[in-house]
Symmetry: D2
Subunit: 450 residues, 4 copies
């Protein structure tokens, strides 16, 4: 049992400083299994090279914290401010995203020096009395780096899948492998025996009514989680667990990818355009038409049989929607999800559990306080039926940081709950992830609703 | 004054029969100014040739009414069922949309015969005692044909704009031109003088609260307007009129199309990709950088000066959103709009008014019962901030007709209120139009909210 | 027997005038089977609407002859000079080619008036004493119109193929159909008993040596046929007839489209990109994998069995090259072809024979003076192994007419000999046609060489 | 003076063995200035990562020599035969070219082991008595590796240009830098001073007549240089030197990139599509419209003033053709070029001279035996007016090696003479290089003819 409960977020400068250091360290730890060459690969338009993630996360602290708040701070390199800018139009020009794979220079050593330089400067900064604004910015920088930790892993999964030799990020964990020493204690090591069954899918009912959504506490959150506001919910029910690989394989076997009436029109267009016939990373053994399904993970390739009870992952919104229609169900709205999640502690197969792949339900058995729902946190991001739009009264952050979230409020769907690549400290019930409905390279899965 | 109030929708078979006949007749009247060659043009991916609209609307009655409900009905032509199918995957295969411009055969005469044949068969059908289901299907067919009337006009506007000679659909109406004889009486010929000013933009406040949305009456509506359900609205305010061409020109002059921070990220991508620098159909005189703006309409090309007080039209959602941000406002949600519109009679610059282009506010002065809002109906469809998604408990129609609306619930934004090309009998407060946010070929405009 | 020998080209003004009139008339005759709507269709990027061909050929006479040489000539319409310009950059701007299908206005009546107006002006011009230059320009205009006659037919074949109903340009000729009254007498109605066999393919040998290529006479030719110059030819041999549909079907049945080693690299890329598995216009009955091949022609759809002995047509250069490699042969160079053709009279299945489709060899039996080769003229253009490049000392015509041929000397291959859609008066042994190697919408076939 | 004359190619096994070893060594030397990360970059569709070049050149020896001719040879790795196959369809499947940048594994160490393993096996092979066929294959492998040496340099030039920081492959050579120790002695260190002037362009006349083309000796050549055959040449003249950067800048300043009449139609399309306004690697200082031209080279960025007398490089065929038209000249055919080069010793600014960039004429002054022509060898490949086509009687090599050259004989133009990145031992008068006319990433320049 290696599940994890997130601690209440820290709020003192010392706590933030500790989180800063731990976060920065973890980014490097995630690179441990990677070669200098691995760090260069950019294998799909959504991805960036891991080396770029290393540099860009340092750039964020330099650009939005050190330059503004550390008196006398000198830039590490005169070109880095625009070189490692991702998309902040009002900050500076920036290179086209696809060029990131050409950044052989600066070399890894330079990037590591850059990180060390920034870390040292932040350490200096923490020696000063810091305003609320500075502390919030640092928390934002930590949250930003946590997002890139997740991206680094999902990008490398794609990179290793694209590589014809299919390298393995970290070989499958031995039975009884212990969780990493620094993972927080799980709140769920007791009870919950056999509460959830991977073979039958049960639903839990909820009453709805006038509920509040959005972040309500004083802890850090992104601007897109604000303001807290009211939503009316009709009664609804949620599946107690995520859809499994085996269930999804039944959808495929039933002609799921060949029946247009199961799909949104744009979804069917995507099926035709890309030739989708299974989730991303599913391949047929020997490429035979009826070959056994193989599923590529950060732990290497596994058989469908081995992952039968694990949540299906790497499906697009279109596939999640089509699956739900086939099953006679639907996806939840983000507000239904949030109403259910709001009072449940963050615990599950998150990055801290170090599984690095969604795991079957019995490995993360439901705690009593889960009211029968599992996999709410971690394993896979859950596609919701909600478009990613502004909350009533939404105000983006002032200045360039206003570009962080607000400008993407078009053409994307909300996902909730985090994945096996999400740091436990990063996720919360009001957290809104968002991707284009065609996206499949994230750990994105399906929870049914009705 | 040629504004129009929609009558209460008919409900007896005789009423429906009369509406059927009037609708079928109007489709042909709309083609009066067009040559056989005009009817062949398909000038953008969104558009279809007018001749195709003529055929497809007959196909709809044949496919979903006559074949099912008129005993002994014989197909007009064995190939027409699939040839004029637009997108109903479960009905039959269908030709690629772009091929519609190659349908020189069947010729116009054949299509007109097809229409006559279908009309005669529907006349026969009306001689029978018709079930509720049949009557609802016929009403659906009428609504379908009304949609294609609007598309026919917007498609021809594009066709004539693309034609380098810029032909005119119908020359500009003479001053004092009277409205067509068959236009219903306007409810707004008295009072409300000068209530709305084209030079300053005023807002009307609304309280919000728990409101109902969706069609609640017994009259015909589309499946996507159902079920009626509750929505919580925070207090809000709406602009009393649409944004004018002059106001939009100020946005352009202020660098609106050159400042990425005013735009959604996908909107800015569209500006760059398409080189947008003004609404569709706006061109600079002599193509000079500082040339006076000219605006192409179904009435021919007009100067910006002439249309200064008319609503800006043919903007994408991205442009509407960017304009609102520039103005320090936002767009309304579809639920805010519907809450305001619900108790206001349908009246305005709709197709029946025969202006064929959005008109300045003083031509359609506000009636007392409008509570100070004008242009709610007609002129331009109003982009809302709402993504086009299913209402809670949404059920698509059974069978192939379920493909009418439901499968497009992805990647589109809702527009409300109808345009100068929308039949008055077609629109209602719960009516949800939807287009991709890049779309500009519809009469789509901007009402600000805050 | 409806073969045709071209007369020696005329050279007196009266002769040119007669040819002008006959050519202009024939363009209209070719449109006889077409409806106004057919004339609007533009079904592939290579094609133009027939109505555009009607207008553009008038434009050519107006732009390059009347405006320069008829004193006091007034333009028919101020916009036509740029509207119907095809690609002469130095003459005026011109619309994008794909927009030609939007030219519903000017209507057909206007275009026919335009043609009449131009014809009348040319008639006036012929009343004057004309310089050599003017006469040459008129001959160029006639040749230009002849090219567009061929294009009109090939474009309509494509238009009717793209139309899902597959209309027929002119139904299959009845057995014993007589040739058109105005077709010149055939030189080949005698002799030639069974000289050529459709079942076995024989080759004729030629000595090579230092030969001359390019137009050497005083009659009209294009600039790209000049100057006449020397070429050294090694000994070679040419097949006595074109490759037949049956022979090509054997190539398909032998996996021709699935074996990359038979193809040029760019050819294989084209096979993969377009999914080619047969010549253009070949379809499988009922779209079944093993369905009988059906071949669409201007005479309607025919079975492979019916066309077994007819030359295969509508193949790309890549397919011609792959077929030759499969057969252990090669394609001839344009100089080999010209050396063989130079002293053979123009006679064969050309447009004047009115078959409108390539015909089996025994319908056009070899005349004694053909030295055993048939189908050298007409039936199909023969892809050669020569890239379309300038002859040594090539000089394009002065002024805008220099854009006629010279600027296309890149990326294209030379074809020789004319097709069933080429006017007999148009073709000659030095004539160089040229198309991109991917092109298939022309009547293009294969003669083997070794 | 660091020019170089190629030695007569060796012919004994010992000579070939020595050339093998020297060639393999030089590939590694060329990588000396590169980091592991540099070796991963693939910056344009034409290019491959340098690491891939290292692996693929080993693969060639393994696949076509060791596996066939070394008894008992065992593959280095079971996946390498298909992983490092470039395009040999009949040999094995192969990865899409664009995936090469994802090959982080095998790592550089593995690739270097692979090279060492192959080298050792070839050493074993040389201990045996080798047939003519084996020796020819080894020579082919050497020539193949020499081609990839040139590609490695041109690919890295592109990679460093694409990198926003513009790294330098090797800093500009100091004045008086001596040539590398292992460069062969130049034959041209005496005489010929001031024979060629960079400021005026002189032409040398040649008689033409019936000449032979193609490789005639017994030394190694590619299959596309055979068979030697006769060509008739009209009298012609060639410029004594290549077009300089300064001359090309005058073409730009004269509106060269804005006047469509100077261009082939496909060339003008390329100018419009890519926004070309100068050769590849030319940029304006500060991106200002009138900024001074800067030229990026393997020696770093230099000013136009510094390179004024150096040959212009990195132009497409279209640009070379347009420049020639602007200058009132033309490009030579490959046969004219070969006739001139045939009896001139290979000497010039080739890879062995180690300049790594085209250099001004006076650095490589014409030797007496050059008859007044310079830069015939090295500096830049010279675009010819000849399409890359088969010679009469061309036979590709048997087996998979037949795919080396023959299948590319479509859509490409011939270049002659080698560049500053071509090993001196690689080039000869019959050598035919070929690229698509749009290609600019090679060292490709212009010699005028008339």
């Amino acid at each position: 049992m290696t599940t994890v409960t997130a601690l209440t977020p820290p709020s003192t400068p010392a706590d933030i400083c500790a989180r800063f250091n731990a976060t920065r360290r973890r980014t490097l730890i995630l690179c441990d299994p990677l070669s200098v060459e691995d760090l260069m690969v950019q294998s799909c338009p959504e991805a960036s090279p891991a080396k770029w993630h290393l540099a860009h996360t340092a750039w964020f602290f330099e650009s939005f914290i050190l330059r503004e708040f550390l008196p006398g701070y000198r830039l590490f390199h005169p070109d880095f401010p625009w070189l490692f800018n991702s998309y902040y139009q009002t900050f500076s020009r920036f290179p086209e995203k696809r060029l990131r794979s050409s950044f052989s220079r600066p070399g890894l050593d330079d990037i590591l020096h850059y990180r060390g330089y920034v870390d040292a400067a932040i350490e200096l900064l923490f020696k000063r009395t810091l305003s609320e604004e500075v502390l919030r910015r640092i928390e934002l920088g930590i949250a930003h780096e946590e997002q890139h930790q997740e991206l680094l892993l999902t990008d490398m999964l794609n990179a290793f899948f694209i590589n014809p030799l299919r390298p393995i990020y970290r070989p499958e964990e031995a039975h009884g492998e212990s969780k990493p020493a620094d993972a927080p204690e799980s709140a769920e090591t007791t009870g919950a025996e056999d509460a959830i069954d991977a073979n039958t899918l049960e639903f839990e009912s909820f009453e709805g009514g006038l509920r509040e959504a959005g972040c309500g506490g004083k802890d850090f959150c992104f601007d897109n989680e604000l303001p807290r506001h009211r939503r009316w919910l009709e009664p609804f029910s949620l599946a107690r667990r995520l859809v499994t690989c085996e269930e999804y394989a039944a959808f495929i076997a039933d002609g799921g990818y060949t029946r247009p009436n199961l799909w949104l029109s744009a979804g069917w267009d995507a099926v035709m355009a890309h030739g989708w016939n299974a989730p991303l990373y599913w391949t047929r053994k020997n490429n035979e038409v009826d070959g056994e399904w193989r599923i590529f993970t950060l732990r290497g390739e596994q058989s469908l049989a081995d992952l039968a009870s694990a949540p299906v992952s790497h499906v697009s919104y279109y596939e999640a929607d089509a699956y739900a229609r086939w099953a006679g169900k639907r996806l939840a709205t983000e507000f239904e999800w949030e109403a259910v999640a709001e009072d449940r502690p963050v615990a599950g197969n998150l990055l801290d559990a170090d599984h690095l792949t969604p795991t079957e339900v019995n490995r993360e058995a439901s705690a009593p306080e889960s009211h029968g729902l599992v996999q709410l946190w971690g394993d896979c991001w859950e596609w919701t039926a909600s478009a990613y739009l502004a909350y009533p009264g939404f105000q983006p952050l002032p200045g360039s940081l206003g570009e962080y979230n607000g400008k993407f409020m078009s053409g994307q769907m909300v996902l909730r709950g985090g994945s096996c690549a999400t740091p436990a400290s990063h996720i919360r019930s009001s957290y809104r992830n968002f991707f284009s409905p065609e996206t499949r390279w994230q750990f994105s899965g399906i929870r049914l609703a009705s």
